[in-house]
Symmetry: C2
Subunit: 426 residues, 2 copies
């Protein structure tokens, strides 16, 4: 049995788990359908997600949709959805995706009960969740037992190489993408063989990149206007390509390696931390990335020469940036106007006798230059100053003053440091 079949064997739901999930599902469906009938609501319960497609791995959740007739107003289905959710899930808590929904536990199994509109293939959706029941129908009518096995195998494979999950912080492959890929390529082996020699983007079907620009373009069969692969980052596509090569050459030892972990790099490392606002990751993560990019740009524009970075978003947002320079040189080479321009003499007048002038004015090629004393050489002061006028995202702007800037002298145990130092291929 090969490396990933062994991993899959450990992650296959047991017969006992399968039975338990089926019992819970049908009980919930029965209860919700009965409730709708008794209240004379045109809605029905449909199970979605991996369990409904039999592609689930161990310890999966149950996803239940209440699909309402399209004629109901949105606020009605949101209100009714929560009402029904709470009546089914004792101690359920309210969460929010596109609509509010109820999440809770039944006999230790996590269950989400989500309202949506009932639509047919090709009909216009109201919100993106309306599409989900169609995914279940599509997958169930296009897979056989061998493909179901290969979908699970692909999920295990992608988890192992750390590219499984479509949330923004992960930017990997969703379960539905795994299903589409196996349906398209017929088998895990065929897909991996294809990926091992793929150059450039992953595009399915071929030619569908006319409309989309992402690195992974996989047209959703139930809605051809949607790229089901939009969430996948270029790096995760790269990881999949490399892992596929590893699979084809049976070099599983490369997967078993871990990254090196050596501090003392002789560079200037700063760690920026701030408390994460109480907002879901898919909203905060892009803002944290934006903050990281802004810090990088400030350091680059000011000449500190950033060379590497890392980010960690847990209870705190932690950003690590490594620069070549600890402190700026005392002098800046300041490029003036071309000698031909009307500004040349003005520029000379500004600098001749100026207390900041270190050298010049002088001519280089066709321009006037001066070397001037650098205004501020301290990294922290420059960053504080420049952040004042930076937009770092709606939810983070209010926290600018709380950002701590820590000079790393040794590994101080921040999560972002662990991520940075132990970074490996997967």
């Amino acid at each position: 049995m090969n490396y990933f079949e062994e991993l899959l064997a450990k992650q296959m739901p047991t017969e006992e788990e399968r039975k338990k999930l089926a019992e819970i599902s049908s009980a919930i469906q029965f209860k919700i359908n009965a409730l709708c009938k008794s209240e004379n609501i045109n809605a029905s319960c449909i199970e979605v997600g991996s369990v409904s497609k039999n592609t689930n791995l161990k310890s999966s959740d149950i996803d239940m949709f209440i699909t309402f007739d399209k004629t109901y107003p949105v606020d009605f289905i949101e209100k009714k959805g929560l009402e029904i959710g709470h009546s089914v899930l004792e101690n359920g808590t309210e969460k929010y995706a596109e609509h509010p929904y109820v999440s809770g536990y039944v006999s230790g199994i996590k269950v989400d009960i989500v309202p949506a509109f009932r639509i047919n293939a090709g009909e216009r959706i109201v919100s993106t969740v309306d599409r989900t029941p169609l995914h279940t129908v599509y997958v169930n009518s296009n897979t056989d037992e061998k493909m179901i096995h290969d979908i699970r195998l692909l999920k295990v494979f992608l988890k192992r190489i750390n590219v499984y999950g479509s949330e923004i912080a992960k930017s990997g492959f969703s379960g539905y993408l795994c299903e589409l890929l196996i349906i398209h390529f017929k088998s895990f082996e065929e897909f991996i063989k294809y990926m091992a020699s793929l150059r450039g983007k992953l595009i399915i079907p071929e030619g569908s990149d006319r409309k989309f620009t992402e690195p992974v373009i996989i047209i959703d069969p139930v809605d051809p206007s949607r790229n089901a692969g939009a969430a996948v980052s270029e790096e995760n596509l790269s990881r999949l390509k490399l892992a596929s090569k590893i699979y084809m050459t049976k070099r599983f030892d490369i997967l078993e390696h871990a990254g090196e972990n050596k501090p003392g790099r002789g560079t200037a490392i700063r760690i920026f931390t701030l408390r994460k606002p109480d907002i879901i990751d898919d909203i905060i993560y892009p803002q944290a990335i934006r903050l990281k990019n802004r810090l990088w740009d400030i350091l680059e524009d000011n000449g500190f020469i950033p060379i590497a970075s890392e980010i960690s978003v847990n209870d705190n947002i932690e950003i690590l940036i490594e620069c070549k320079l600890e402190e700026l040189p005392g002098v800046e080479i300041h490029k003036g106007p071309p000698v031909e321009s009307g500004e040349a003499i003005k520029f000379i007048d500004v600098w001749n006798g100026n207390p900041r002038l270190m050298r010049g004015p002088y001519i280089l090629n066709n321009r006037v230059y001066v070397d001037i004393k650098a205004k501020n050489r301290n990294m922290e002061e420059i960053i504080r100053e420049e952040l004042k006028n930076s937009d770092i995202g709606k939810n983070l702007n209010g926290y600018k003053d709380e950002i701590k800037i820590i000079t790393e002298t040794e590994n101080m145990g921040f999560d972002v440091e662990n991520r940075f130092y132990s970074r490996y291929l997967f």
Copy 2:
């Protein structure tokens, strides 16, 4: 009287000097012509250079050409030229331009006696010096008294802004260029007015840039296949443009300023020195520039980030290069092949477990990377190592081991430091 007229007044040859030069010239011409006649050589003496055109400034040399009939072989005119030179100039020394020639002093005036072939305008030259007598003829038949004055004024102007002289180390304007410019523009004022608003190259006549690529293109009227302005560098053209603006706006105070001179720049400055081989500057200077460029490239390729440089060629070649980094970071970010390539797994195998590995291998965008311990962080060692395999010019290659590398901590009094710190517009 304006700023430059005042300068010219001080540099005009006196009536006494003029008489003395004329007497010496005619005596030499008489002697050489008599010698040629007595030996039945078909050659005659002709005075060239600024004195012959009445465009000389104070303390000028005398340039005498012996123009031989074109039917003589080159070795004959070289031998006869030296023979005649020595018989005219007691204690004369032999020098070498395109032919060997004799240089000496008569009543304290420096005199060169140079052999050449006698050609007519439009005839093919044997060596470039053959053209020189034609320049004298052309200038004398195209100038009047006012233009002669303006040529001298232009020379004084160009000297003042440090762009006079066509030797390679200077890369400025020759005396002949001054004559051509005044003949073309009719007056000093017209030329300066033109230069003050010129953008881009100086091209005379217009359209003649089809054949030449230099920043200054001035077709030689006695040989239209030659760019008489080829020696002028872009920087010196820029200096002339800026100085012309200064002239037009009467901002002579800018000329009177000197550059600032402040050490302590908080950067890494190295001074490279070596003894200058006993070879003429026009041959050594380009090689010194090449060495400077090679040092710059080594520092740049190795990440020290050079930001400024200076050169001085006197008894020694001195090169100063200023870098942002004193020492390299302990880590290098080493970019590997794209994950798609056949080299990706080889690259990973090279680095996994390698003692130099600091972090990774990891994936960034579509490539594999590793952070590795920098091999050598010391600037001097890196330069010594890289110079071994560098061609720094025929006459300097043998001196590589003699190059001293000095770490500047304060102004140490090298000429190149003085040039560097006091650098100004002109």
